[in-house]
């Protein structure tokens, strides 16, 4: 992995904005909130406006977050000159510690064992594949698998590696697009944004076809181009299949032309304006075509109830959490 100083400009610092809502409507958007709004307006209302969430955090989201962080930090360490083995050890231990939960009593005081050690245990997942053990295995196996890769982390004009970039991009109509780019790479003279995805299924070409069209990948390409001020060819996606006994990897590409990005941008502005209008009118139409996506919408059992009793069922099956904030830096 070579790390030559590049002429890629240093991206601007994210704008300092207090809230992602103005006059009661969302104006700062990331790929998560965009996907909610594009999937179903009622889903957007439940997730973004009302802040409903399943009581237990999704093991897929937790696993994916820890995995992406480990690889992002690995490439940062390497680009800053850390030896391979030291970088592996560092990110593996970081993941081990992140997935270790110390126990506290009801008053919040640490529970100690007889020797005075703070009692704790590893993260317990209710998914058979996305477990703590398989997370550590996947990190180690991924780094082994791509050890001799020919992708270089881009080094910016200030000498720093192009990893971990949170961005806020002011676009038309007072809208802000925001997000987080894990890594910018140079592959055979072309620039790509890198992203990691995990799945429980075998990775076939169809897996990568699922990212075109895809709001997240288009936003990454669009934003990467804008903040680094260079042509971005698309996103390189490293897919990891997580099974009980193994982790298997495939690399795929999702290209975006200038015309595709322009079209995506127009569509996104239109989706945002529609959602803002629905928010002002407090009317969020359901999209019945999306109810069966990905094994069924988590709110399907709620939408299937009569409107007058939905809140009772929401209170029984979901919890309110802090509002999702697209401007929160990772």
């Amino acid at each position: 992995m070579t790390t030559l100083i590049n002429t890629v400009p240093v991206p601007p610092e994210p704008l300092k904005i207090d809230s992602h809502f103005r006059d009661g409507v969302q104006f700062a958007w990331d790929s998560t909130s965009l996907k909610w709004a594009q999937t179903c307006q009622q889903y957007y209302k439940y997730k973004m406006i009302d802040c409903w969430e399943a009581p237990t955090k999704s093991p897929h989201l937790l696993f994916g977050g820890w995995y992406a962080t480990a690889l992002e930090h690995f490439y940062k360490h390497r680009a800053l000159g850390m030896e391979y083995e030291e970088a592996v050890e560092s990110v593996v231990m970081e993941a081990m510690i992140s997935t270790w939960e110390y126990k506290h009593d009801t008053d919040g005081a640490p529970i100690l064992d007889e020797a005075g050690n703070h009692v704790g245990e590893g993260w317990k997942s209710f998914d058979t594949n996305k477990t703590r053990e398989n997370l550590i295995r996947t990190i180690i196996w991924y780094l082994e698998f791509f050890k001799g890769e020919s992708l270089d982390t881009v080094i910016l004009a200030n000498g720093k590696p192009a990893v971990e970039h949170s961005f806020t991009l002011a676009v038309d109509n007072g809208i802000i697009l925001s997000g987080h780019l894990d890594r910018l790479v140079d592959y055979s003279g072309d620039y790509y944004i890198m992203d990691q995805k995990t799945t429980g299924s075998t990775i076939t070409p169809r897996f990568f076809e699922g990212f075109d069209p895809d709001t997240q990948m288009s936003l990454y390409s669009f934003a990467g181009k804008a903040i680094f001020d260079i042509p971005i060819k698309g996103v390189i996606i490293d897919g990891a299949q997580i099974a009980v006994g193994f982790s298997r990897f495939e690399r795929g590409y999702s290209f975006r032309t200038e015309d595709q990005l322009n079209e995506w941008y127009e569509d996104v502005l239109s989706d945002i304006e529609r959602t803002q209008e629905n928010t002002r009118n407090n009317h969020f139409p359901k999209n019945p075509a999306a109810c069966g996506n990905y094994g069924g919408c988590e709110f399907r059992s709620i939408c299937s109830k009569s409107p007058g009793v939905r809140n009772i069922f929401l209170n029984g099956a979901f919890v309110k959490r802090k509002q999702w904030n697209p401007l929160e830096r990772r």
């Binding site: 510690i97 270790w100 590893g122 295995r137 196996w141 009980v244």
Partner: protein, 72 residues
């Protein structure tokens, strides 16, 4: 070389507070999974399972261990 007989098992490593890991613990964890990856590449589809390897897998691991040199 890693001596499998004196290494902590994966179960022991995963139940231990990672903030109290020794250098040996850290390296044993990584070495264990690297070894299991070799088994997977040889066709053992359950090699990466966190469960203790079967007697048959252990036998194969010992054979492979003779061919590799881990820098520990």
């Amino acid at each position: 070389m890693t001596d499998l007989s004196v290494q902590p098992t994966l179960a022991q490593l995963f139940s231990k507070d990672p903030n109290k890991y020794t250098l040996q613990d850290r390296r044993a964890l990584i070495a264990a999974y690297r070894e299991r990856r070799k088994q997977f590449n040889l066709g053992q589809l359950q090699a990466g399972s966190a469960k203790a390897p079967s007697a048959k897998t252990l036998a194969v691991m010992k054979e492979v261990k003779a061919d590799i040199s881990l820098d520990l």
